[in-house]
Point group: C2
DNA sequence: TTGCTCCTCACGTCACGTGAGGTGGC
DNA sequence: TTGCTCCTCACGTCACGTGAGGTGGC
């Protein structure tokens, strides 16, 4: 039976840590003095402490370790936990590698000195959106505003009639690359707060969760090209690929003050192989 | 100017997070109502928020991000921070891969059903130890106790004479593989609490920090072979190699009760290439 | 009046590290 | 008496999430 300081020196574990393990019941001293509160350990407790350290080293939390120290555990159960942990670590490594790729892409951009370009690109996960939408085919580029306005008007009236309410900014989904300017298919979508019936013309459904890369464009719609170019470059440089219709989210859109408009352009993405 | 809830919906960032960013001064609303305390944001603040999210995504802490949002920062400075971060992430990935290797080794052991064997192996970093030591060459295996005891006696008397005190368990360093049993060179070392002069026979120096793989052996010295075998197997299976003299740390060693002796066997290791 | 949004505390997270203030054995 | 070791609080860490309890505008 030795005192906590000696046990700490033997095990190269701090006194504070040993007290912590006592407190949470992971490793209780063989004896505690009623009067002084001194903790006394036995050298034979070292294997248990070592097991704790070894499991911690494999990435388990103290809470997970506690049951693993019980004698009742079978090798098979231990194997399961290890397999789960392995998957977790693998996923983590994949994430960190993606992070590394993003950092590297950013550094390359700085070297090319056009770093300003992608300074505002964000990768994020958009939650599922319950929406009502109407799809139109727009003959030429010049007719986009008219067609979209008409489509949104139709969706809004449908939504109001069924007693639902807007639940965020409206958006358009474009089902072909941004370079296409003839016979474009656009889906005018309004986020709503409750499910309502749809019709032939107005679909009601939930847009699934998606990982998107986005950029916020300030000002009139005229110069979206730069934004698209930047996003597509980012997607390429970071090892992703476009995975679906891109979206325009009309965050601020007052027709009388287009200079102050704010539009978010979102490209759904997936890891390229 | 919009309310916090709208800004949260636009940015897909939680209201709580926005309040947090306000509190730490990362992103303050354009206006706050004196009476109600309501926070009002402008859509033009989205780019700043996006920059925050993008940098957070690269692994920076909020504290690190704050100065990076200042206009005064040059691309070169940003590049430096990114390079540092890249190194950090790379190091992290290396660590996680090592962890993965350890998990995999453990799983292989379970499959082979001799998992009990390495259950107590620990990888840890031993701090530098100030020690006094005497090296002896031991002709045959049978003479180990006698030679070691003599060596320790000599070191202890030297240490006492110079007024230093023991500062942890004594240990032996073995300068050749454990399989060698003739003319073994062993260094009997005693940890001391202050520097003292050495002699021809008793060296005083600091053992450097070392990463070691260790196991605690309970009971008499006779069956160290199993422990050595287990450690060497672990080292091999986890992609390490032996990097120096192995150590025996005599944690509990009462000659009259050898059955209760506890000895830690430590192998210094380095990553194998 | 009823929802809805917003507010400010206060506490919890994970595995400890770092004092503050005080006690027992040589 | 002086060090040394040990003790028990209490607070901090990082980036928020989760109530509790209360207020303002439709």
């Amino acid at each position: 039976v030795i005192k906590i300081g000696d046990f700490a020196r033997l095990s190269h574990v701090s006194v504070v840590t040993l007290r912590h393990y006592d407190e949470i019941g992971l490793l209780t001293p063989v004896a505690v003095d009623d009067v002084t509160g001194y903790r006394y350990y036995a050298v034979t407790q070292l294997p248990r402490l070592n097991r704790i350290l070894a499991l911690k080293d494999l990435g388990f939390s103290l809470e997970q370790i506690a049951p693993m120290l019980h004698d009742g555990i079978t090798p098979a159960q231990l194997g399961e936990m290890l397999t789960l942990k392995r998957k977790e670590v693998e996923r983590h490594i994949t994430e960190e590698r993606a992070r590394l790729a993003r950092i590297a892409a950013r550094l390359r951009n700085i070297e090319k000195e056009d770093h300003m370009a992608d300074y505002d690109v964000v990768l994020k996960t958009v939650p599922p959106l319950l929406s009502a939408s109407h799809t139109v085919t727009i003959p030429t580029n010049g007719e986009v505003p008219a067609y979209l306005n008409a489509a949104f008007a139709e969706v809004y009236s449908h939504v109001k009639q069924r007693g639902a309410k807007e639940n965020g900014p409206c958006l358009a989904l474009w089902h072909q690359p941004a370079a296409v300017h003839v016979n474009e298919e656009a889906e005018a979508a309004v986020q709503i707060d409750r499910p309502i019936p749809g019709t032939d013309r107005v679909m009601v459904y939930t847009l699934p969760v998606t990982e998107v890369v986005s950029i916020v464009h300030q000002g009139a719609f005229s110069d979206f090209r730069q934004a698209h170019a930047t996003l597509l470059e980012w997607i390429d440089a970071n090892g992703y690929r476009v995975a679906g219709a891109y979206r325009e989210v009309y965050m601020q859109h007052d027709p009388s003050a287009m200079a102050e408009a704010a539009t978010e352009i979102q490209y759904p993405v997936a890891q390229a192989v």
